[in-house]
C-alpha cells in the first residue's frame, strides 16, 4: 500500500504539472479580464520551441553542458510563449479584437505549427522511431517517475501568483482591471499596461507547462496531446475559482486521475477522463448559483475595454 502511494504521488505530480503551469498562467491572464482560449496553442508553442532548442543543442555538441542543457530549452520556450502572448494582447487589447475568436485562432495556430514543425524535425532526424531524439536533454528535467526541479518551480510560481494577487498593491490593481476596467482607468491605473503584462507573463508561465509536458512527462516529441492538457488547465481555472494555490492540489488531483485511468482497460479509461470536465461543470454551476463575489469569474472577463465606448 505504502509503496503504491509512494509510486503514485510522484507520477500524479508528473501528470499534473502541465495543468498547474497552464492554469496558473491562465488565472493571471483572466484576472486582467482577458479570457485567453489560446492556452493550448501557447503550451504547444512553448513545448515545440523548447524541444527545438534542446534538439539543436543536443545534436551540435558532443558533451552537454548542464547549465546550457537546461537554459536553452527554457529560454526558447519562454521566448516562444512570450511572442504568442504578445500576439494575443496586440490583437485583443490594441486592435480590440474579439477574445474568443483570437484565442481559438491561436490554439489552431499553435497546434498546427508545433505538430508540423515536430513532424519536420522528426523526418529530418531520419530516426527509425517516429519520435524526436532528445534523450540526453530530458535527463536534466527529471527521470519520468519523479517530478524533477521544474515541478518545484511550478509550485513556487503558483504560490507566488496567489500571494501576488491577494496581498500586493499591484495584484489588487490587476484584479480591479479585470473586474471593472473603466473604474480602474478612472482611478489612474494603466489598463493597457496591466492587461499586456498579465497576459504575457501568464502565457510564458503556461508555455513552461508545455515544456514540462515534453521534458518531464512524455520525455520525447511523439504526437503529444498538449491541447487536451491545455483545455484541462482552463477547466482547472474554473474548478479552483481562480485560485492558483488551490490549483496545486487540483492539478495534482486531476493528474492522479489521469494516472489512475492508464491502469484501466480502454473504455473505462475514457470515463475517468470524463470526470474532470463534469466536476468542473458542476463547480461552474454551483459558483454561479451561490454568487459569492470572491468565487465568481472576473466581471469583465472576455469583454474588450475601449475607453471612449459608452
Amino acid at each position: 500500500m505504502w509503496k503504491f502511494i509512494a509510486d503514485f504521488i510522484p507520477r500524479a505530480v508528473v501528470y499534473g504539472m502541465p495543468l498547474l503551469f497552464g492554469s496558473t498562467g491562465e488565472i493571471l491572464t483572466e484576472k486582467s479580464g482577458n479570457l485567453n482560449l489560446g492556452i493550448p496553442g501557447i503550451m504547444f508553442i512553448g513545448a515545440i520551441a523548447g524541444t527545438t532548442g534542446a534538439y539543436l543543442y543536443e545534436h551540435s555538441v558532443a558533451e552537454l553542458n548542464p547549465f546550457l542543457a537546461i537554459m536553452i530549452p527554457v529560454m526558447c520556450c519562454l521566448a516562444g510563449s512570450f511572442l504568442m502572448g504578445l500576439l494575443y494582447c496586440f490583437l485583443t487589447v490594441t486592435m480590440r479584437a474579439n477574445q474568443n475568436v483570437t484565442g481559438l485562432s491561436m490554439t489552431i495556430f499553435g497546434t498546427g505549427f508545433a505538430n508540423f514543425l515536430g513532424g519536420v524535425l522528426t523526418k529530418l532526424a531520419k530516426s527509425d522511431i517516429a519520435n524526436l531524439d532528445i534523450t540526453r536533454s530530458v535527463n536534466y528535467f527529471g527521470d519520468g517517475n519523479h517530478p524533477g526541479w521544474l515541478a518545484y518551480v511550478g509550485i513556487g510560481i503558483a504560490i507566488l501568483t496567489s500571494l501576488f494577487l491577494r496581498y500586493t498593491r499591484t495584484g489588487l490593481q490587476l484584479r480591479a482591471v479585470g473586474e471593472n476596467p473603466a473604474t480602474a482607468d478612472a482611478a489612474g491605473i494603466n489598463v493597457t499596461r496591466y492587461k499586456y503584462l498579465a497576459t504575457i507573463i501568464g502565457s510564458m508561465i503556461a508555455g513552461l507547462g508545455g515544456l514540462y509536458y515534453i521534458m518531464a512527462s512524455s520525455r520525447t516529441w511523439s504526437e503529444p496531446q498538449i491541447d487536451a492538457a491545455g483545455w484541462l488547465a482552463i477547466a482547472i481555472v474554473i474548478f479552483t475559482t481562480w485560485r492558483p494555490a488551490i490549483s496545486i492540489f487540483a492539478s495534482i488531483g486531476f493528474g492522479g486521475l489521469l494516472v489512475l485511468s492508464t491502469n484501466f482497460p480502454i473504455g473505462i479509461k475514457e470515463l475517468f477522463e470524463l470526470v474532470p470536465y463534469v466536476v468542473t461543470l458542476i463547480v461552474l454551476i454551483i459558483v454561479s448559483l451561490r454568487k459569492k463575489r470572491e468565487n465568481l469569474p472576473p466581471q469583465s472577463l472576455g469583454l474588450p475595454y475601449f475607453r471612449e465606448e459608452r
Binding site: 479570457l35 490583437l91 475568436v101 485562432s105 489552431i108 508540423f116 513532424g119 475514457e270 465606448e309
Partner: protein
Amino acid sequence: MHIAKRDNLPVWKAWLIRGIAIIIAISLCGLITYLFTKMNPITVVDKMFKGLFGSERKTWKTVYQVACLLGISLAVTPAFKMRFWNIGAEGQVLIGAFAAAAVMFYAGRMPFFNDPGVSMEVKNTIIFPAMMIAAVLAGALWGFLPAFFKSRWNTNETLFTLMMNYVALQIVKFMVSYRGFKNLWSPNGTAVGMINSDLASAGIGNFTKIGEKPGTQYLFPIVVVAVLTVVLYLYLRFSKHGYEISVVGESERTASYAGIKVNRVIIRTMILSGALCGLVGFLIVGAEGTIAANSVDGRGYTAVMVSWMSQFNPIGMIFSSLLLVFMQFGAKEVPMPDGVSLDKNFANMLMAIILFFIIGCEFFINYQLQFGRHKKREV
C-alpha cells in the same frame, strides 16, 4: 495619435478592407509554403486544385466538406449574433452524430429492418427521420443546458460550452471503445466500422444507397445545407425572431426595455443553434456511415471562425468555408522535398495566419486612426 470609432463605413469599403487583408494573408501563406516546398506557388495551387476537384468523386467530396463546415457555421450564427459565445458546436455536432449513429445501429438490429421482404426505400424512409429527430434532440439538449444556466444564473457560457464539448467527446469515446459496447458496435476492430454494413441490405440509414454513382451519397447533405443557408438568411434577416436576436445582441437592456423577453430569446436561440448542429451531425453520420471520436475533427471550432469572419452573413460563410476547406484539404495534396508532406497541421497553421489578418483588419473597419491634433468637431 488618436483612435476613434468610425460612424458608418460603407459596406463595400468594409469588404474592400477585408479583401486586402485576405490577399496579404494569402501572399504570406504562399511565401511560407514556398520556403518549405521550394515550389512555384502556382504549381502548389494547381496541385491543390487537382487534388480537390480532379475527378467527379473528389469534387463531390470537397463540396461535401464545404457543406459540413458551412452547416456548422450556420448553426452557430444565431447564437453569435445574440453575443452568446457558444463555442460548443464541436460537442453539439458530435452528440448529434452520436445519437444518429445509435438510432442507425439499433434499428439495424431490429427484426423489421432485417426483413428482406421490406424494400430499402421503406426502411430508409422510416429510419432517416428517426435518426434526424434523435440527432436534433441531442444537439438541442447540448445547446439548451448552457443557455438555461446562463439565463437563470448568468453562468459563463463560453466556459460552459467548452466543457460540454469534452463531455460529449468522452461519452462518444467511451461508447465506441468500451468493451461491452464495442463488441456490439464493432464486432472486430478498434474503430466502429461502417454501421449496418453486415446486413444483407447494406447501407440502411446512410446515404450511400440513395445515389447510384460514387460520391452521390454526398448529394443529400449538400442539398440540406444549401436549403439551410437560404432559410437561415431569411430567418435572421426578415423574421421577428431574427430581429429579437439582433436586438438582444446589441444590448440586452434595450431588448428588455422594448419588451423582449431576453431569457426566452436566449434559450430559444440556443436550442435552435444546438438543434442545427445536431442536424449536421446527422448529415455527417448519414454520409459517412460511421461514428468516431474525431467525426467532427475540430470543425466546431473552425466554424466559429467562419461565422465570425463572415460577419454572421450566410452568403459570406459560403466563401469562407470554401477557402478554409480548400486550404485544409488541399495541403495534403502537396508533396514536399525530403519526403515530408504538407499536412493538416500545416494547413491549420496557414488558416490561423489568415484568421489573424482578418481579426486584425476588423480594427480598421470599426475604428479610424487620427494623426496629430484633430481640428474637426468633437463627437
